[in-house]
């Protein structure tokens, strides 16, 4: 019995990890290509949730989860062009600080526009309830999320590994000067990467809105986990983030099973442990400016 309970937590952890992955992947991309630590990533997550709730009221859930990431990605254009771009070559601390400030501002702006009271959002009726897959209990809605995450992951992998866009991006992570020598301007690629990254965060927000509290400070909840995942996985590595996200989800699940009080602290301890043993994360590349 105990083993089954544990397994159930592990499987649930994997599902949750998949969700963390959606948020963290965007963060990792921006981090690796732009060299900026985007502490405002949670703000985009929150905007995605709010946009989705708004659109759901008029057009329903389906259109909402498509429109809201796109809308936030468009916001991402301005974010990249007018703010982030100034900090690519600066000392990383300034990127940290400016995005931190931006997160603060966005949270307040959300509060002013939509009020401090949480918005209500519900799961579309078709996905209510839980199902058994084998011996394991899943909520239908989370399976939907998992499917979406898998699709997105596949899409991003394909984009990075099989298209020329992806080749340029991966080269840009390693040797931006060489990319320049080949006559390619990196700016449009950067913008596209930022759009993709914040769009994914917004997608996460849109999907999580029905099962969490949609309130102005919701970005804070997700940002720390996202960072832990990115740092554990290592910068510049696609699979690193994937493994780290799943690992974090599972570790949390297991800890809650045995030592519930340490559930949330466990991921920080995990991060400390990984950083001390493998300073660049599990699969991270050596990126000079971060050392």
């Amino acid at each position: 019995m105990q083993l089954e309970f544990l397994l159930e937590q592990v499987v649930n952890g994997l599902v949750l990890g998949g969700y963390y992955l959606l948020i963290s992947l965007g963060l990792s991309l921006i981090f690796s290509v732009g060299g900026v630590v985007n502490l405002a990533h949670g703000a985009f997550y929150a905007l995605g949730a709010y946009a989705s709730v708004e659109v759901t009221q008029y057009l329903g859930f389906g259109p909402a989860v498509v429109i809201s990431p796109v809308a936030v990605a468009i916001l991402g254009i301005f974010f990249e062009r007018f703010i982030l771009r100034r900090f690519y070559t600066a000392d990383p601390i300034f990127g940290l600080l400016v995005t931190f400030g931006l997160a603060m501002v966005t949270e307040q702006a959300i509060r002013i526009i939509w009020g401090a009271a949480p918005l209500s959002a519900s799961i579309p009726p078709a996905f209510h309830g839980s199902v058994f897959v084998g011996d394991f209990l899943f909520s239908r809605y989370r399976l939907l999320i998992l499917a979406v995450v898998a699709l997105v992951l596949l899409g991003v992998w394909f984009l990075l590994q099989r298209t020329s866009f992806g080749r340029v991006v991966r080269a840009g992570i390693q040797r931006p000067d060489m990319v320049a020598a080949l006559g390619i301007r990196l700016e449009p690629y950067m913008m596209a990467v930022v759009m993709l990254g914040v769009g994914m965060a917004a997608l996460g927000g849109a999907f999580f809105a029905p099962i969490t509290v949609v309130q102005p400070a919701m970005g804070d909840e997700i940002i720390t986990v996202a960072f832990v995942v990115v740092v554990i996985g290592g910068l510049g590595s696609f699979w690193g983030v994937v493994i780290a996200a799943l690992l974090v989800g599972v570790v949390r699940g297991i800890t809650i099973n045995y030592v519930p009080a340490a559930g949330e602290a466990s991921i920080y301890i995990l991060m400390f442990a990984v950083l001390l043993v493998r300073p660049r994360g599990l699969l991270g590349e050596r990126i000079e400016k971060f050392e």
Binding site: F94, L96, G101, I112, Q174, L182
Partner: protein, 700 residues
């Protein structure tokens, strides 16, 4: 070169004045003295944090942890052991913070840069969670209440004015301590670490110990502030350790200005007053604060103090640089200053045997050996990629050899780290100028001279009081020909001057053997002559191992030459033998021309129009004038080979064509169109595809 008394005392005077004026200012704004106590305590916390951020370059997102630990410790100590007193709890809480920050520091200072910052962020999150949930110890969400302020004699500290005075006095004491610290040898090393940690360690500073020390001191100062606030509120709550609070501390430092001592204090005052005032008017105060913060980071990263300085420079502009440079006095032919001469050396001073190093699959150095004897200038030559700089790096401690031994005066020095090696008596200069650009020339050199003395750990005495070091610095500057321009920032010097300073930094370590990595590279003819004479002067007392590409010159003044090729030592002999050796000639100019498959027809080539015209192009790398009116034509169907010694400018020429490096003047025409001005556009990219040296290709 000393700092005036006025400048040293000014921050303290300003602070005292501000502390006296603050209650009145607050009154006028409709705020209470409580706010003032808050502001002063936060100012102390911010200044403590700035010791890490502004002075040492360690950006900590987690100082709220120390603020909180200081507060909780003081509260708990009072509640359990010393009710009604605050002095002992304050003092003991500082010890608790010192101990905990020491342990944590050992763990997280192993990482640098952004990783360090992220670790501190995680630390803050972790301590908040712990404070919140370990309610048996911390009171959890309700906080640790029931604290008392005690009294001094008959004056109860519950009186706001009395407590404000106490906090103000403690604040001034903390400021005084910090001022002394930053003026001490220790404090100056912190700045060196911030500017160039690598060079500081090569100067002989155990950088990790300094970082740990400043981390602990900074934590203790912030912790003291936390304890003061705890007694102010009669309560410690978990908010004190939260991540948002850590961010606020950081915001105070940035907004105030991290390049000055009092900047963060100003930032703290700004924050507290801003928050109090704005939260009275509107519940959107955090929005305005956030916008202000973002604006500062984007437009004035030096904060309020930076803005103040910019304004001041309008009224009192800095002295003209050209004028300053003209004060330079050059003395030629001076002997090496006495204090730099090592005790008489005999025989083999440096002995390298069988050293190998590989990086991944590449064998950079294979079974290399060198002996440098007393009184000798030993040249190390070889083509690019031969492994010369790697060998230097192995000897000076940047890398650890996989095999082999390195002995200095028969003491083993392999694998012990650059700072220890420096103390053993080995110093090196760098191929790419490796200075403290933001510091004055004087300071660059003084740091070297300070590094091997015990007082380098002193945190209290003003550096001006060490007359001996100042005398030595002055003499070294004179020897190098840099007298008269002490206050110029190293980064503002000409390229030649910077190379001199780089050399001087190595020399200042009072070595028994000096490793010079291409000291003449990029210098104009006159400067080459001077520097060569300098090297000869030095070598009269200190054996020198020198890498150089100016073969003629270096073979001219060295006694012994080692030739390296592809990671291995080819031969070691006297200059004449090396010059005459066939193998040496071969590795430089090649073994002959292999048969080419398709023969070029000379006639056709001669008539074609030039496809690429490169006309009187000048290119600079920073100060270094690399391409000098370079001219080149490439015709259609031609293969043009660029040959030349190292540092001749071949790669630079290619990069200028490709647009990676901008041409300062001259024209570059491709198919008749001027492409000198367009940077890296598609058209230019299609004009030239550049295949760089193997190491620069991406794995993709």
């Amino acid at each position: 070169m000393t700092t005036s008394m006025g400048a040293k005392v000014r921050p303290l005077l300003l602070a005292t004045l501000a502390l006296v004026a603050l209650p009145f200012l607050l009154r006028a704004l409709g705020l209470s003295l409580d706010t003032g106590i808050w502001a002063v305590a936060l100012a102390v916390a911010a200044m403590g944090l700035n010791l890490c951020i502004g002075y040492t370059g360690l950006v900590s997102f987690g100082h709220s942890t120390w603020f909180g630990i200081g507060a909780y410790a003081a509260g708990l100590i009072q509640l359990h052991w010393f009710p009604n007193q605050i002095w002992l709890p304050l003092a003991l809480s500082m010890l608790v913070v010192a101990a905990s920050s020491f342990i944590v520091g050992i763990i997280i200072l192993r990482r640098r840069g952004v990783y360090f910052s992220l670790l501190t962020l995680a630390l803050a999150a972790l301590s908040y969670t712990t404070a919140f949930r370990w309610s048996a110890l911390t009171g959890g969400e309700d906080g640790l209440g029931g604290l008392k302020r005690g009294s001094i004699g008959t004056i109860s500290l519950d009186n706001a004015v009395a407590y404000y005075t106490v906090v103000a006095v403690i604040g001034l004491a903390a400021l005084y301590f910090l001022l002394r610290l930053t003026r001490s040898p220790f404090g100056h090393v912190l700045v060196a670490i911030r500017e160039n940690q690598l060079r500081a360690s090569f100067q002989g500073y155990p950088v990790e110990r300094y970082k740990l020390a400043v981390f602990v001191i900074s934590a203790v100062v912030t912790g003291l502030a936390g304890a003061l606030v705890a007694f102010q509120n009669y309560l410690v709550s978990a908010e004190a350790v939260s991540v948002p609070f850590a961010g606020e501390l950081l915001a105070m430092v940035v907004i105030g200005g991290m390049r000055s001592m009092l900047g963060p204090a100003l930032g703290a005052l700004f924050f507290v007053v801003f928050r109090e005032l704005f939260s009275i008017w509107t519940s959107n105060w955090l929005l305005w604060f956030g916008l202000t913060f973002v604006a500062f980071v984007m437009y004035s990263p030096d904060g309020l103090v930076g803005i103040w300085h910019k304004l001041m420079r309008r009224f009192r502009p800095l002295p003209e640089e050209a004028a300053a440079m003209s004060k330079r006095k050059i003395y030629d032919g001076l002997p090496l200053p006495a204090f730099l001469r090592p005790d008489s050396l005999e025989g083999t001073v440096l002995e390298v045997t069988g050293v190998s190093k590989h990086f991944g699959g590449i064998r950079a150095v294979n079974d290399a050996g060198i002996k440098v004897a007393a009184g000798e200038i030993h040249a190390l030559i070889g083509p690019n990629g031969a492994g010369k700089t790697t060998l230097f790096n192995l000897i000076s401690g940047l890398y650890t050899p996989d095999q082999g031994t390195i002995r200095l005066q028969r003491r083993d020095i392999h694998g012990i780290g650059p700072d220890a090696i420096c103390h053993q008596g080995l110093a090196r200069s760098f191929q790419i100028t490796n200075l403290f650009r933001g510091l004055t020339i004087y300071e660059n050199l003084r740091l070297s001279l300070q590094a091997r003395r015990p007082m380098r750990f002193n945190i209290w005495r003003d550096i001006d009081s060490f007359a001996e070091i100042h005398a030595e610095t002055a003499e070294l500057m004179k020897f190098l020909g840099l007298e008269g321009i002490e206050r110029i920032e190293a980064g503002a010097l000409s390229y030649g001057g910077q190379r001199l300073v780089d050399l001087g930094i190595a020399l200042g370590s009072k070595p028994q053997v000096l490793l010079l990595d291409e000291p003449l590279a990029g210098l104009a003819a006159a400067e080459r002559e001077r520097v060569s004479n300098l090297v000869k002067n030095i070598a009269a007392n200190i054996p020198v191992l020198i890498v150089e590409h100016d073969i003629d010159r270096v073979l001219g003044f060295s006694q012994n030459v080692t030739v390296m090729n592809q990671g291995e030592v080819l031969m070691t002999a006297c200059p004449q033998a090396v010059r005459a050796d066939v193998r040496v000639q071969e590795i430089y100019t090649g073994k002959g021309i292999p048969a080419v498959e398709h023969q070029r027809i000379d006639a056709v080539a001669g008539e074609a129009d030039p496809l690429l015209r490169f006309d009187r192009v000048n290119t600079f790398y920073g100060k270094s004038h690399v391409l000098n009116d370079a001219t080149l034509d490439v015709r259609e169907g031609e293969i043009v080979a660029l040959l030349g010694r190292n540092g001749a400018g071949k790669s630079t020429l290619l990069k200028t064509i490709a647009g990676l490096v901008p041409a300062a003047s001259g024209s570059i025409e491709f198919q008749g169109k001027d492409i000198a001005r367009c940077r890296r556009r598609k058209s230019r990219g299609t004009a030239s595809a550049m295949c760089p040296r193997a190491a620069a290709c991406s794995p993709a």
